[in-house]
């Protein structure tokens, strides 16, 4: 974990209520895809945890949806500095499977991006399934197309891509492992619809984001875990629904 100041390079709307913020700063503590950062926002007490979409040695890309006061305030920032805790959470373990699915739902799509890049760099076959509610919500299709072997888009209302849920797209595919992030009902549906092992990234309301307050604990088959510190990624075998 590291606390440092990042400066905003750009912050633009990329879909309905969804923004992409690029920041420059010290990313040296980000060690794995699927980790998150915790952002101090002026006037609000708790930091706001946001998953890392992508990063390199100097820049950090975050994609977030405006759902409350914190993200609304973030969406209005055009420049300036942010106090950010980086290197939070365990992130995904990449050493599993050779023919893998990355499955994102809504704002669960962003962490799949750096993950897919890294999996491709390991010469794996990577197929992305990205689920949204409607055509207005779709983002990053082209970005995923540039790195993945194939990309399937689903929308609940059928206004773009395949009509239905991500599980409707995955049932016809062959794979030996999967990675996913998205709303909990989607994660549960994927858990039930998949026959292989996989890794799930969970969301919870957090106090600190670094394991101190026990605000985001959950029970697993491997004992009590803190979503922020021992998660957010849990393996299929340990999850208790």
């Amino acid at each position: 974990m590291k606390q440092s100041i990042f400066s905003i390079i750009s912050n633009e709307k990329i879909a309905k209520d969804v923004f992409k913020m690029i920041l420059s700063g010290d990313t040296s503590d980000i060690t794995a895809s699927g980790q998150f950062v915790n952002i101090k926002i002026e006037g609000l007490y708790l930091r706001r945890p946001i998953s890392v979409c992508d990063y390199d040695s100097k820049t950090l890309t975050l994609i977030y949806k405006v759902v409350g006061n914190g993200t609304e305030q973030m969406s209005k920032m055009k420049c300036g500095n942010l106090d950010i805790l980086t290197g939070l959470g365990n992130g995904y373990n990449l050493d599993c499977g050779n023919n893998v699915l990355v499955i994102g739902g809504g704002v669960g799509v962003p962490p799949m991006f750096n993950l897919a890049k890294k999996l491709k760099a390991m010469n794996k076959k990577v197929v992305a399934i990205l689920g949204f509610n409607s055509s207005d919500d779709v983002f990053y299709e082209k970005d995923f197309s540039e790195i993945c072997d194939s990309v399937y888009i689903t929308t609940v209302d059928g206004s773009y891509g395949k009509k239905g849920f991500v599980t409707d797209a995955l049932k016809d595919l062959s794979y030996d492992y999967f990675y996913t992030c998205g709303p909990e009902p989607m994660l549960k549906a994927i858990y039930d619809a998949t026959s292989t092992s996989g890794q799930f990234s969970f969301e919870e309301r957090m106090g600190c984001g670094f394991g101190a307050c026990m605000g985001c604990s959950c029970k697993t088959k491997y004992g009590n875990k803190r979503i922020c510190k021992d998660g957010p990624v849990l393996v299929k075998e340990e999850i208790i629904w």
Partner: protein
């Protein structure tokens, strides 16, 4: 050279800054980002006789200048704390630590304190009779003077370490409880625990927190804490560890002027993990600004 040291019932601290229980785990998360040996001491995660998972999630809610938590004393139980946590803690913290103890009956408090009494690194036992997040215990001892006295007397019999009783602000007259603890033999008083609070989500129209209510902490409660420390200082003659919304070195001075010998920092650790380090480094500056050479000289100075 200014003197930051204070003494709590014979336990000499390099400075009065103590991260509060429940906001600092067992120290290692913070040891990753600074050397926690600069702290006066720290109060580790509230420990009970048996392991506890705590309350369902969500356990956390945002408030103006503060937060609500309803963790519910999640901890691995005293045996795991002694066998697993304390040996790990010893590797990153070489000073005496404050053992925070929770319980649901007098027997449970006694059981846990008796075991922690044997731990060399424990310099002081802080008995939490004020957790707002557990039913059938915790706070009920802290809201009834005769129960508070009974717990204090029972715990004092099984330990030679200084015993501080951590009080709840959710009472009509905190001085009555503090006096009962002093009568029961307490070596000191810690206050305040969190204020019982609640938030309701306008979208779902239901409480934000799964357990409905929780403990309100953060900057917003600081004036309540200062007032209660001030009142308790007048009511008892044993030392006080003051806490509640402390987030700056100026707050530390204010808390000490109200009557605190030690000062705990709680929720602020969750927002700025370096806050205790920042405060310790900043204290000489504010002491100079307000013409204070020896920090312990100002304890109770506002009376």
């Amino acid at each position: 050279m200014v003197d930051l040291s204070v003494t709590l019932s014979g336990l000499k601290l390099d400075n009065p800054i103590i991260p509060a229980s429940g906001t600092f785990g067992y120290g290692y998360e913070f040891a990753e980002i600074y050397d926690i040996n600069i702290l006066g001491s720290f109060s580790f995660k509230g420990t009970t006789k048996d392991p506890r998972f705590g309350n369902p999630t969500p356990r956390i809610a945002e408030c103006v200048s503060g937060m609500i938590n309803s963790v519910g004393l999640q901890n691995p139980g005293v045996h795991a704390v002694i066998n697993e946590e304390l040996p790990k803690l010893k590797k990153c913290f070489n000073k005496k630590v404050i053992a925070n103890v929770g319980g649901f009956s007098v027997d449970e408090y006694v059981y846990t304190c008796e075991l922690l009494d044997c731990e060399e690194q424990v310099g002081l036992i802080e008995v939490n009779i004020s957790c707002p997040n557990v039913h059938g215990g915790g706070m009920s001892f802290g809201t009834n003077a005769s129960d508070a006295q009974k717990v204090t007397e029972a715990v004092k019999k099984v330990t030679n370490k200084p015993v501080y009783i951590k009080l709840s602000p959710n009472v009509t007259d905190i001085t009555e409880i503090a006096k009962a603890c002093e009568a029961g033999g307490a070596d000191g008083i810690s206050l305040i625990n969190t204020l019982l609070g609640m938030r309701i989500n306008l979208n779902t129209k239901k409480p934000v927190i799964a357990n409905k209510m929780g403990g309100f902490s953060g900057n917003a409660i600081f004036p309540v804490a200062v007032r209660m420390v001030y009142q308790v200082y007048e009511a008892v003659s044993i030392p006080i560890i003051g806490m509640g919304g402390v987030s700056s070195s100026e707050d530390v001075l204010e808390m000490m002027l109200a009557g605190a010998t030690g000062v705990q920092v709680g929720a602020a650790n969750l927002i700025n993990p370096c806050i205790c380090k920042d405060i310790i480094e900043d204290l000489p500056r504010v002491m100079e600004k307000y013409n204070i050479n020896k920090l312990s000289d100002i304890i109770g100075g506002a009376h």
